[in-house]
């Protein structure tokens, strides 16, 4: 187990410079927290014609939870809802250490190292859980 496998450069970049932060007017808002550790996310989704037209988040938490949220927003923006949900499934499979489609996950693959740190998986999946809830709302 190497720390550098967990804290990849791209993760630290998203942690320090989170993308798509802020609020969206008239959006679906999902607020989730991880009660065991205090990580929080407020995810805002604008879905038009079955497509995730825009997505923003606010949150506080560890590097993994915040970087994962930032990377998720970049990955799903512009995707049809069903593809966003499929991506979420692929991400969860990666977290469980199962095989996944590298092309589908793209940059998100940087978070693969989290799967080797069982205590941190819930940090990485918080934003995706919010996405799933929002898409099904």
């Amino acid at each position: 187990m190497q720390l550098s496998e967990l804290y990849r450069q791209v993760i630290m970049d998203h942690y320090q410079n989170p993308r798509n932060q802020g609020d969206l007017e008239g959006a679906i808002t999902v607020e989730l927290r991880n009660p065991s550790c205090g990580d929080e996310i407020s995810l805002q989704l604008k879905v038009t014609g079955g497509v995730v037209e825009d997505v923003r988040f606010r949150g506080s938490g560890c590097s993994i939870s915040m970087a994962s949220a930032s990377m998720m927003t970049e990955a799903v923006k512009g995707l049809p809802v069903d593809e966003a949900l499929a991506l979420s499934n692929a991400f969860r499979a990666m977290m469980r250490g199962e095989s996944f489609d590298e092309d589908q996950l793209g940059e998100l693959e940087a978070l693969q190292g989290v799967s080797k740190f069982p205590a941190r998986i819930k940090c990485a999946t918080l934003a995706w859980q919010a996405l799933e809830k929002g898409c099904k709302a």
Partner: protein
């Protein structure tokens, strides 16, 4: 006290984690178990296992005798006047809930007040919120000073004629603050209120004398004091325990059962419905023997010495914020901190890579996190098997964390 020799009693400590010797600094969450406790559990299951207080066979008698002997040991350990005042429960949470359901709910009324602090563990907060909702009573908080301590002046101003119950931790699980329980008991009793003490962090770490504290109830857990998980204790003054109704019902706790009614056994058995936590209680008895042989005064002195050393060493780590009282004698054996703006989870992961186990999160004390204005904190906690070299390893790992995240910065 020779912590290096004591370490030999704890088989679990003799291992490497992520290629480093394990440095276990999370005893406030749960303590490790010494060989004598593990052996007693093994022996019980290999030779005496049987149900208690029923049947007349030899094993049943042995199990009953061992279970009741454990009660006596615990009673002596906390200086309870009578072993019957020791109720075995699942842990601190269940003990406090038993008081909330069995004592508070039937007695409290609208206008009555429950006094506590914002530093309480959720287990000594939520049961009282629920009592307040069910009875119409009001919660009142003794204000916290910036270092998380309370003053007796504030306590005296908060406890008044409407106060029916004061609930407070003897030692805060986050800040380590030692609260003046005996003085608070006097204030509570002066207005006819009872005091419920959460002893989860104090009973394992310092001598406890329920008669000197004059507390009405004391709740604590076995697993934080070298005993097994799943067993805890509710101590209560005889009068209250006798007056209280059981909070759950079934076999084992009954006297006479008719078709439409039943009567209960005496205190404490009426509170122990169902097959009790037999092995757990016997294991706790063994833990009490173990701690008593070492001496609770010695354990308290050891904790304090390590805390002193940790506070001094941690102050040398740049950007490290320590929460709680400054002086080691004002606090239990733990230090809660944050390292710059690195999230405690990230700190904990880097420490774990060096074999150092600490707690990161809100420590079941969300209101206190809000008071400290932080989402979470990291906590290192000490016990009789920890040494100065454990703290050196912690400090080294914290420097590594600092360095790692500096280099990870883009």
């Amino acid at each position: 006290m020779n912590a290096s020799a004591i370490r030999e009693d704890f088989p679990i400590l003799n291992q490497t984690v992520n290629g480093h010797p394990l440095v276990y600094l999370d005893s406030a969450a749960t303590s490790q178990k010494p060989k004598p406790v593990i052996d007693v559990l093994k022996r019980y299951y290999e030779t005496d296992n049987s149900n208690v207080h029923r049947g007349v066979h030899t094993l049943g008698s042995r199990a009953t005798e061992a279970y009741e002997l454990a009660r006596e040991k615990v009673a002596q350990f906390i200086h309870a006047p009578d072993a019957a005042q020791v109720v075995f429960t699942r842990g601190t949470t269940e003990s406090i809930n038993m008081v909330a359901y069995g004592y508070a709910r039937p007695r409290l009324q609208p206008g009555d007040e429950i006094v506590l602090t914002a530093a309480e563990h959720h287990s000594n907060l939520i049961p009282w919120q629920q009592v307040a909702k069910a009875t119409g009573a009001t919660l009142r908080y003794i204000p916290l000073q910036p270092d998380g301590t309370i003053t007796l002046e504030d306590a005296a101003a908060t406890i008044n004629a409407k106060t029916k119950l004061v609930a407070i931790a003897h030692i805060s699980n986050v800040l380590g603050t030692i609260h003046p329980v005996a003085e608070l008991a006097k204030l509570a009793h002066a207005v006819g209120a009872v005091i419920v003490v959460d002893g989860a962090q104090s009973v394992p770490h310092m001598p406890t004398d329920v008669q000197a504290l004059d507390c009405d109830f004391l709740a604590f857990s076995g697993h934080k004091m070298c005993g097994p998980t799943g067993v805890g204790v509710l101590y209560g003054k005889r009068r209250w325990l006798d007056e209280m109704e059981p909070t759950y019902f079934g076999g084992e706790m009954i006297d006479v059962v008719e078709l439409y009614d039943a009567t209960w056994k005496d205190t404490p058995w009426k509170f122990e419905g169902g097959t009790p936590i037999i092995a757990g209680a016997i294991g706790l008895g063994a833990a009490v023997d173990y701690l008593t042989a070492i001496g609770m005064d010695a354990i308290r002195a050891h904790d304090q010495e390590l805390t002193d050393y940790a506070l001094e060493r941690l102050r040398s780590v740049p950007d490290l914020t320590i929460y709680g009282p400054v002086e080691a004698q004002q606090r239990g054996g733990l230090v809660t901190f944050n390292l710059g703006d690195i999230h405690p989870h990230d700190v904990s992961t880097v420490l774990d890579a060096e074999g150092v186990a600490i707690r990161a999160g809100h420590h079941c004390a969300q209101p206190l996190m809000r008071f400290l204005n932080v989402p979470a904190t990291a906590r290192a906690s000490f016990y009789l098997y920890n040494t100065r070299s454990d703290i050196d390893a912690l400090v080294h790992a914290l420097h590594s964390a600092k360095e790692f995240f500096q280099h990870a910065t883009v």
